[in-house]
Amino acid sequence: MLILGWLDYMTWINAIVQGLLLGGLYALLAAGLSLVFGVMRIVNLAHGVLAVVAAYMGLVFVQTFDVSPFLAIVVVVPIMGLLGFAVQWGLFTPSLRRGGLSPLLVAFGLAVVLTQVLQEIFTADTRSIQIGSLASSSFEVTPDIFVGIFPLITFVVGVCVIIALQTFLSVTPLGRAMRAASDDPETVTLMGIDNRLVYALATAIAFGTVGLAGIFLGMRTQFSPTFGDAILIFAFEAVIIGGLGSLWGTLLGGLVLGVAQTVGSQINPSYGVLAGHLVFLFVLAVKPSGLIPKAVDR
């Protein structure tokens, strides 16, 4: 890197800046996965495909009513929240009672079923949510670094969602109940709290953030029914790189993953995803508790 000229040096800086912006989207995608694991110890393997479900919902809404994609957020997020409540109440909580591998297997089954249903309805073709001129508008930071308006919006939304979730868990009574249910489910019921309700609300919030993430994803890139696999893997990598159970960690993990992918792509376009995986495996090897290990702040 040192022997490269100033201009090349700037392309690396640019890759890092673009990576940070991409990382904001990953953090947004990973927030719900982190929350569901944090509260219920469920690894929602359907997380990725749910983001894609939300993207398709947004697409259908925008195409049907010919309105701004941002208006779709107002509709899709509550629908996803309701879906989250229903899935937790009807599937995940009963599977938790079964114990063992059941929650994981139910979530996996749900992921496969949702993916196939999307295939059936929308075919395997790639789609995207059109955002018009916003997709190409950007501003100049230096002559070599341009920051896209839309990636910046995504980044800001991602950071805001993490901050909002963290604040919600820290200061609100419901957030306290969630943290308590996570620490000791039996004792919480002694305090008059219905675990099932707390769990369902936590998953509703998580699915709401997935809905938001899915629409931003759909506006940013092309997606297809099987795109959920990659989303799940990226969200998972962000959670593990950052450290299990820490939302700040998830934000940091998303940023690290985003930078790893864009810098990898800068080296060779086919190395982007691989570079992300390798950084994940590296963190797993040298610091398995993640960059920000679980502190008191879950």
Binding site: I42, V43, F108, V113, I233, F236, V273, L274, H277
Partner: protein, 349 residues
Amino acid sequence: MNFQSTQIRVRRATTASKIGVVALVPILIFLAVIPYVLGRGTQQTLVALFSFIVLATMWNLLAGYGGMVSIGQQAYIGIGAYGLVYIADTLGLDPLLAVPIAVVIAGLISIPISLLAFRLIGGYFAIGTWVIAEVVKLLVVQFPALGGGSGISFSALSDFSPGRRIAYVYWFALIGMVVAVAVTYLIMRSRLGLGFTAIRDDEVAASSLGVRVVRSKRIVFVVAAMGTALAGTMIAANTLRVQPDSIFSVQYSAFMIFIVIIGGIGTIEGPIVGAIIFFALQQWLSDLGVWYLIILGVTAILITLFLPRGVWGLISANGRIRLFPVGYSLSVTDLAKSLSNKERGINEP
């Protein structure tokens, strides 16, 4: 108390398992002569069934006995398939020698993989293994010798006439399946198997009783990798073509999981029953396109929630009938007699 007349015995074999062993002989003989009786298409279909039985048996060993849910076993399918093709075609070794070499290579690769994957537990272990499988795929496509992104064909058997080739592959797959199931059965009967069952039920308690948890899990992980690679060699020999996107597809993991859940997790018989059901469904519902996967997924969810022992649990009356007994049972046929003797002993003086 009169112990002389009491006949309490600890036994492993049951009536069902004895009948099962007797029934197994004609079934295996029938399967062995199929190339003389049935057509090539049927044989190829059966090879696919055998490979699914091996995949499901290995996934069950991992999850049902070892408590490790992996969705990255396709890594070893790919390693086995690519290994066979590369060793037999490019290096020119005999395919029958290439298979065990590919299987051992998969086992060796799985050891460093386990060092990374074992840092994760539960669901995160599951996704971690998936990431590792993706990495294996992304690395494989970087090698031009392995055909890059378009894959390679398997041509070491092209000297044989198609009929002969298909029959040889069929016998190889049949033997491979029998070996895989037999090895799993022998492992589960051993001291190691008892340890696995303890780990599955309660890892901490097992560890406090002297079970070497991490070592046992690593052994299971490596054996499952080798068995899965064996299935990979069967798939490559059957389809004659290895493509990175299909051989490393996460779909294989979905199939393994559904087969084991539907058949019955944590039993030797379950994956076999599940694979046969899965295969029958696949043949019947193939006209429905993706709907068969939806039906399969919904069935798997319902079985997980309402019938955790699976179809084999139903057939075997919740585990009372065992074709492959791995535990011991107490024979209490004379207990009633001994109890009545005891009562008489008290009453007589």
